[in-house]
Structure formats: structure tokens, C-alpha cells
């Protein structure tokens, strides 16, 4: 087969297709979106498997779980924080006996390029006691995804492939191998899928019992490689995933490089680690994300007679993304010579709403309406409209997680915030806004919820939204919001006065109001025109 140039995300997607995938599910989120974008294109071409965006990550995981129950192979992908949303099915699926292979691919965002935190998904794999692969390059992303399906079917466990932004969004060459076919329909056994305490206790015991087998699998994996320097025993380096590249970038080609253990699979290959640690005086652990490997080496008492260095000891930065130059000093190397700024500080250029964006008109009207209310608070959510936090609008005061705006506005109102306003996009509302709005409607809380319906998931590149248009309006009414307090506005400059008036009226209403601001995303409108 011909080599292909792929994003890391795409290499995972292709690996899954070639492993005999029957269905893939996801919710858009940077840096994971391109996995599903690729699968959707490939599915449209081959018409041999299902690939679709889900309403949220929990649903995506459960759909994948249903596919696995039926004996077929499923992939579920999401950005790292999406796994928080899917944590319930993820943790519990480790106690079922999967029938078809299920691979979960969270893409972490160290450095928070497009995220609200930099949590490390490897901890989730450890928490659920399931295997995890951590690719260091595109070929490994492809190979590991294929192998993850085999491991999943061998042990009946979900298997994680952990990506990070720099691999997800970097392009390089992948040499694909012969694809294999899909599984036949084969239902799971009810005693292995019905997690009543009587079954769950037995299944959990089984999960504990196979942990040693999973460690053995890592010991034998071709993705974990130990190279010992027989002459120089001063330093040994353990490096996982992309961190391995940053180490090699600095060491490759050097005479007598330190002993090096590359780690690509979890649970950790304990014997390989023991062999390295016994061989050297100082161990440096380099890993992208939180110090998972370093912490398990250190424990509370450390390694007697050895120095363990890494993020916990301060040799490497504990926050942010690693880079070749961040790793250099820990390896005892001087920084490279470079051109300096000479006191010049380039002004920051944060992202911002596009010129003419409907959200800008909504924020303008909202700011105007709230001008007379110094105690007002606007709770916001995850999407392009979060950019309303920046100048010139500075219209929102919070952004925490998907759907938080509505629940926080209710809590805020109950604590005495007035006016208490929530701002949430149509897709985010479908993802996690329905349930808190149901509660607010039942309590008729004195708050005002804005749903910004631009009919797409704009921030991540225009994926389809389930909670848009007529369906959205019916959903809001169906949740029990009073019809006269469901107001629709069209956010356009010419409607500024009219819209401000509507907002003022609903803020004065001593109960729940929902204002739906309807205007299509400009970028999407452009795309639609271009494609005719």
C-alpha cells in the first residue's frame, strides 16, 4: 500500500478503519475533531461503516459500547475534557466483558492551546485499570490503534490510545498495512454486561486478576524499548510519547548517549523500568502531561540510592507543554544559540470573534440591556462566544465546562445574583444544557438564558448541531419554559434597539426566560455558498 501524509488524528482514524472498524462516534473538540472528520469522509466513500457526530461524549461512548456489545469494533474519540463527560460509561465499561473491540481516544491539550485545563488522560486509564497506548509519532499512532483493537478483544476491555495536541495536529508520513474485515454480529453475555452488584463484584475481581497479564503485555511490547549504555552509568532517561522525541532531538547522533527507556504502553513495563533504574545513578523521567511515571517511581519514599528527576523535582516544567528546548537543561545541555528579541515584547494577539459575527451583535445588545444593572452576572459556556470575554465586549464573567452556564446561573440566582444570565450555544445546549434548563423550568428560577443558535459547532470547524432551529424551540417549550418567555431575536446591527428592549423585558420578568438569538455562523454561510 502507498504511504500517506496524515495528521496524527488521521493516522488513528485510518488505523481504526484498517483494524475492521464498524462504527465511530465523537463530539467535536480540539485537538480530537479531525479523527471523526476523517472517519466521516472515509465512511462516505466506502459506505462500509458508520461514522457520526454524537450529541455529547457520554452518548458517543455509550453508542460505541452498544456496537461492542453486538460483537463489532467501535472507536470513540474526544478531547481530553470530553472523557470527563464520558467518565461514567468509560469506568463502568471496564467491568463488562466487551464482545467487539472498543478503543477510546482522548486527545490531551498540554499547554491549553484550546482548552480550559491540561488534564492527563493516562490517569483515567490507570483509574479504570485498562491498557493505554501512547504514540510518539504518526506510524505508531496507526499501528497502536490497530493493536489496541486486538488487545481490547483479547481481554474484553476498553483500550485507550492517548494523543496530545502536537501529534494530533502534526502531519507526517504513514505506511499503512493490509486492512482486515469487520466482525460478525455476536451478542455479549448478559452476566457480563448486567452490572448488578452480584455480577460487578465478580467482574471487578476478574479485572484485578488480569492486571499482571497487562503488565506482561507491556513488558513484551515492541513500543517499549530499553537501550543501556554499558560504559556510562551516570544518567538514565525514561521518556514516553512525544517526550521521547524531544529527548532524541537533543541526544540523537551524540557519542555515548545516556541509557534510554522509551515507554509507549501502560500499565508500565515494571521490569524494564527496574533494569534501567538498577543500571544508572540518576533517572530522569520525561513525559508530556502530569508526572504519572515519575510519581509511580518515587512513591513516598523514593528509590533508595538513586536520584529521580523530572517534573516533581523541578528539573522539568510541571505546567504547560514540553518542547525540545524545555528538555535540554534537564539533560545537562546548554541552550542553543539563537536570535534574541532584544527587549522587544511582541503584543499578544488572542483569538477573537470574526468581523460581523452574530455573537458580537448579541453581546452588544446584552451589554446595553445590562448597563443599568451593576450587580448583573453573565455565566458563559464553551464555544466561540467564550471569546466575548475579551475586549471589546468583555460581556461574560465565567467559562468552566460544557453546559455549566445554565446550572451556574441557577445556583447564582439562588445565592442572590440578579440579573443572573446564562449564555450558551445551540450545540453546547444540546450537549449539556438541557438537564439544567429542565430544573430551572421546574423551579421557574429568576434567570435569563441566552441560547445562541448559529446552527453549527463553529469553534471546531462547523460540525452539525442537533439542537438548532425549530427543534431547539420545541425542546425549550417541551422542557416546560412558559411560551410567553421564550423570545426569539435576530442579532443584527439594525435590530440593536429592538433586541435590547426584549432583553430588558425578560430580565425584569421575575422567573425563567429563554432568549434564542438566531443567525447563522458567517463562516458556515460562506462555506455553504462556496459549495453551492
Amino acid at each position: 500500500m502507498k504511504p500517506e501524509i496524515l495528521l496524527g488524528d488521521e493516522a488513528v482514524a485510518l488505523g481504526a478503519v484498517h483494524a475492521g472498524l464498524s462504527a465511530g462516534y465523537s463530539y467535536p473538540g480540539t485537538p480530537a475533531s479531525e479523527i471523526m472528520e476523517y472517519l466521516i469522509k472515509a465512511a462516505a466513500k466506502s459506505k462500509s461503516f458508520v461514522a457520526s457526530w454524537s450529541v455529547n461524549e457520554k452518548v458517543a461512548y455509550e453508542e460505541a459500547l452498544g456496537v461492542s456489545f453486538a460483537g463489532k469494533r467501535a472507536l470513540v474519540s474526544m478531547k481530553h475534557v470530553g472523557l470527563n463527560v464520558a467518565a461514567d460509561p468509560f469506568m463502568n465499561s471496564a467491568l463488562t466483558r466487551l464482545s467487539g473491540g472498543l478503543v477510546v481516544v482522548p486527545a490531551d491539550d498540554p499547554g491549553m492551546h484550546s482548552s480550559q485545563n491540561e488534564q492527563d488522560s493516562r490517569f483515567y486509564a490507570e483509574f479504570a485499570k485498562v491498557p493505554c497506548f501512547e504514540p510518539s509519532n504518526h506510524q505508531e499512532a496507526y499501528e497502536m490503534t490497530r493493536q489496541a483493537f486486538d488487545v481490547s478483544e483479547k481481554f474484553g476491555l476498553p483500550v485507550m490510545v492517548r494523543l496530545v495536541t502536537r501529534l494530533s495536529h502534526s502531519r507526517s508520513t504513514v505506511q499503512p498495512r493490509e486492512p482486515r474485515g469487520q466482525n460478525e454480529l455476536r451478542y455479549g453475555a448478559r452476566q457480563d454486561w448486567t452490572l448488578l452488584p452480584v455480577n460487578a463484584r465478580r467482574r471487578f475481581k476478574g479485572l484485578l486478576e488480569i492486571q499482571a497479564d497487562l503488565v506482561r503485555l507491556s513488558e513484551e511490547s515492541e513500543f517499549n524499548r530499553l537501550q543501556l549504555n554499558e560504559k556510562d552509568r551516570s544518567l538514565g532517561v525514561i521518556a514516553s510519547g512525544l517526550a521521547f522525541n524531544y529527548v532524541q532531538e537533543n541526544l540523537a547522533g551524540r557519542e555515548s548517549p545516556p541509557s534510554l527507556l522509551k515507554i509507549g504502553t501502560y500499565p508500565l513495563p515494571e521490569n524494564l523500568i527496574r533494569r534501567l533504574v538498577e543500571h544508572v545513578e540518576t533517572v530522569l523521567v520525561v513525559e508530556e502531561g502530569y508526572p504519572l511515571i515519575e510519581r509511580s517511581l518515587r512513591g513516598i519514599f523514593g528509590v533508595p540510592g538513586k536520584a529521580v528527576k523530572g517534573k516533581l523535582s523541578g528539573e522539568l516544567p510541571a505546567a504547560g507543554e514540553l518542547s525540545p528546548e524545555a528538555v535540554r537543561p534537564a539533560l545537562g545541555l546548554k541552550p542553543l544559540e539563537k536570535l534574541g528579541f532584544g527587549g522587544f515584547e511582541p503584543a499578544a494577539r488572542p483569538p477573537q470573534l470574526c468581523a460581523g459575527c452574530p455573537h458580537a451583535d448579541t453581546f452588544q445588545a446584552l451589554n446595553k440591556a445590562l448597563a443599568g444593572y451593576p450587580k448583573a452576572n453573565v455565566f458563559s459556556d464553551i464555544g466561540c462566544y467564550t471569546l466575548g470575554a475579551y475586549p471589546p465586549h468583555q460581556a461574560v464573567q465565567t467559562c468552566v465546562c460544557m453546559g455549566a452556564s445554565v446550572g451556574m446561573a441557577k445556583g447564582g440566582a439562588e445565592a442572590g445574583v440578579h440579573p443572573s444570565v446564562a449564555v450558551i450555544g445551540d450545540s453546547t445546549f444540546g450537549h449539556s444544557g438541557l438537564t439544567p434548563l429542565l430544573e430551572a423550568a421546574a423551579a421557574d428560577t429568576d434567570m435569563t438564558v441566552f441560547i445562541l443558535d448559529n446552527s453549527t459547532v463553529a469553534m471546531t470547524g462547523g460540525q452539525p448541531s442537533y439542537a438548532s432551529g425549530e427543534r431547539l424551540l420545541k425542546m425549550i417549550a417541551g422542557l416546560g419554559v412558559a411560551g410567553e418567555h421564550i423570545r426569539v431575536i435576530e442579532p443584527l446591527p439594525k435590530n440593536l434597539e429592538k433586541n435590547t428592549q426584549v432583553i430588558k423585558e425578560e430580565i425584569e420578568h421575575p422567573g425563567l426566560s429563554v432568549i434564542v438569538a438566531v443567525r447563522e455562523c458567517l463562516e458556515e454561510a460562506k462555506k455553504r455558498r462556496r459549495s453551492g
Binding site: T30, H113, R166, T173, N245, L336, F341, F344
Partner: protein, 201 residues
């Protein structure tokens, strides 16, 4: 042979297009390629960059180490300077002089250009003028690609082939404008007083 290039600009200025053309041409040359891009939030009018690494040997890191870039191509002067600390002391900056002002504290353009000229090797181009001459102000990225072409370890025909491939679906008029922009950029670089390097071994 190894060449590390930082492509810099603002979301929507066509950074990924430049990267695509160079990377595709490099593959035809049989080079190993790694190309790190920015997707997501920053694409909305924020600072974006692409790390493009071409080599005959194995490339480890997706990111260029600070101090190793041979070339910075900036579609915008402030963005060209933002990654100055990636450049080798003998590296080169090729930058547009046309500012993209969407922030309140955008610096004085003359200060920016002075700063670029302070780099030992630099080329500043009026991409807007040349792009308009080529028939579309949206071809400024291809003007810069043309200006950089002589320094890249790839054949010009290959670059042209992938410019065609990139714009084909927009019609022959768009293809022609982009190719013209490429030629004008190339001529500008040839006229300027600098010595094209052949890349490091």
C-alpha cells in the same frame, strides 16, 4: 540536508496553504517531512504558526527547537517577529510589510520593520502590492512562498504543481492569480540583495 521553517501569520492568512505546498513538494523530493499546525481556537483571528521540518535524515520532534529554524516566513510583520527566538543566529526572515491590525495595542509598523531589519538576513516585501498586481489581494501568501522558493530544498516545478492542486477547485482564474503571485514573489527575492543558502547538511 535539513531545513526548519517557521510559517507565521494570523488565522485565515493562508499559513497552512504555504505549508501544504512546500510539504507536498518535499515528499516528491523523497524528503522526510513533519509539519505541526495550529487548529481550533487560535484560528479565529489569533496568532497562528506552522513548524515545517524537511530532512534527508530522521526527524524526531514535531516542533522546531528554539534556535534551530533556518527560515521564518511571516505573512504579517508582527507575527514574523513573534517567533524570532526560534531562528538560528544566521537564519533568515522573509516577511510581509503589510500589518494585520485587529488588536488595540498593535505596535508602530516602522518599529516592527526596523526590528526585522536588525536580523542579519532578511527580506521585507510589500505583499499587498504584488498580490494586487497578480490579480487578487488574497494571494499574499503565495507571494511569500515565491520569495522563499529559491531557498527551499525542493524543485520549483513541484511547488507550482501543488499550487495548482491547491487552487484547482476554485477555477483557472484563481490558479493563474496564485501562480502569478508566486512569480512576482520570486522576482522580488531575486532582485533583492541576498544569497540563497542551500540548506544545512
Amino acid at each position: 540536508m535539513k531545513q526548519d521553517i517557521i510559517l507565521a501569520g494570523v488565522g485565515g492568512q493562508g499559513i497552512i496553504s504555504i505549508a501544504y505546498v512546500i510539504a507536498s513538494a518535499a515528499l516528491e523530493e523523497g524528503l522526510e517531512v513533519k509539519q505541526a499546525e495550529v487548529h481550533g481556537m487560535s484560528q479565529r483571528g489569533g496568532a497562528v504558526q506552522s513548524h515545517l521540518r524537511l530532512s534527508r535524515q530522521r526527524i524526531w520532534s514535531d516542533l522546531i527547537p528554539r534556535g534551530e529554524a533556518d527560515l521564518i516566513v511571516g505573512v504579517e510583520p508582527l507575527e514574523a517577529l513573534r517567533y524570532l527566538d526560534y531562528l538560528r543566529p544566521d537564519g533568515m526572515i522573509i516577511a510581509s510589510r503589510v500589518p494585520f491590525v485587529n488588536i488595540r495595542d498593535y505596535p508602530d509598523v516602522e518599529v516592527l520593520l526596523r526590528k526585522i531589519r536588525a536580523a542579519p538576513r532578511h527580506l521585507i516585501i510589500d505583499t499587498e502590492k504584488l498580490a494586487k498586481e497578480a490579480g487578487s489581494s488574497r494571494t499574499q501568501n503565495m507571494v511569500l512562498l515565491g520569495a522563499a522558493a529559491g531557498r527551499l530544498p525542493v524543485k520549483e516545478e513541484a511547488l507550482i504543481k501543488f499550487i495548482r492542486a491547491l487552487f484547482e477547485h476554485h477555477g483557472e482564474k484563481v490558479v493563474a492569480a496564485n501562480l502569478k503571485a508566486f512569480e512576482l514573489g520570486k522576482a522580488e527575492a531575486a532582485a533583492a540583495d541576498y544569497v540563497p543558502a542551500s540548506g544545512r547538511t
